[in-house]
Amino acid sequence: MIASFQALLFSDRAADRVVPPTGHTAWLTTFTAAAMTFLAVFALALSLASGRLAARWSEALANTATIRISAPADQMQQQTDAVLAVLSGTPGIASSRALTNDEQKALLAPWFGPDLPVEALPLPRLIEVTETGEGYDSEGLRQRLLAEAPGAVLDDHTRWRRPLATAAARLNLLGGLSIVLIGATMAAMITLAANAALAANAQVIRVLRLVGAQDDYIAAAFVRRFTLRAVAGSAIGAALGLVGVFLLPPVDEAGGFLTGLGFQGTGWLLPLLLPPIAGAVALIATRAAAFRKLREVQ
């Protein structure tokens, strides 16, 4: 294996010429590598984007619910205490806390400016609820709040995101699986092309063996060829794929799912790993095919 990496680097023109040019199978390999890498770039973009989405949504889920208490000023503190008491006795809730006036002011500042006199306004009191991993029974909590603090409203609107976060995580996994499948398909196609080339050159292989060529030498002549073609094709495919992702129309935050489909920051460098991987796949596939064929020749 190390020998064939070396052979790859220190290409020997004479050694390359002992195997006749193979015509159209050469293009087959280049084309396959280009097409597969192009697909892999999109699978990678999808996988990364859904990974980011899953992370963002589950982060939001960790801090989901808010309880809003609207009550006359004199009952406010009493209802707040009642709600906090209910929450501390509810399974599935990690912690809860009433927002301070300053915090509420900060929340409202974007709408009403920094000088809002919060104390003077009949604003609802907000309680931030942090769930545990298992989550709580929201219907049960709602019933108990109704009984203990009629002015409290449980707002867990972010809960609808839970299945979406799961879906995004699943999509991330499927994207990764697609990349593996694309790699396996490429290996299969290159194996077929290499087998065709080896079969067409059975006579050449026999003559080389008879004049004292070692297996590594014969295999390298084929391996070098297919590996270089795969790397070249893959580079073309990666370049086209990156251009394709780059040209995706920008969608702002409101665009929902499509937001951020593409690469971010150093993520743009990841597709550059695909050509070397394609080369390694071609090397391993061709080498295996060559040694299988060589075993038939004494």
Binding site: R206, V207, G212
Partner: protein, 223 residues
Amino acid sequence: MIAFDNVAYNYGGGELLSEVSLRLAPGSFHFLTGPSGAGKSTLLKLAYAELLPTAGHVTIFDKDVRSLGRNDVALTRRRIGVVHQDVQFLDHLPLAANVSLPLTVSGKQGNPRDLTDLLQWVGLGKLADALPPSLSGGERQRAALARAIIMGPDVILADEPTGNLDWEMSLRLLTLLAELNRMGKTILVATHDLNLIRQAKAQVAARVLRIRNRRIQLAGADL
């Protein structure tokens, strides 16, 4: 150099060779003769490890062929020059590149002058750039001999090397083999050309082995 010890071989049908024992001593010259289909080519293939014996032992350069790995077989073949009966070349490479192929595959840099001289010597000086499919049978055989000796092998095995040559060219080739033998090379030539063998006896101390009824025997004056 090469020794057969009670060797048997069969291709799957009946036994083709049985109880074959022979020894090619360094510097010896042997002919191998016998009717067509007797197993001359098979015996030669056993001698350069293209075939493994079904029984007995073949020893090449003091090593049992069965103990040789694939790389050892390749290295061993670099020390044995073979002229195959069905001479095969790489049809996409010119004659000169084919003749120097053993050097190429062993990573050696040949001297271009030596190659030219060698081609001249076998009478193919003008055909260095010709592609093998355009050569006549005799030209192919001479090219095969050139390829067999370019590595300066210790042993030369030739299977019907004069099969397609006219008498004059056959004698030239024989003289060449005799010369190589005088330089110390061990030589085995399979042929059914008895005239060639008689002619050779005037030039070298050649022994004649004959395959008869699957066995090998030393032919005497009854040739």
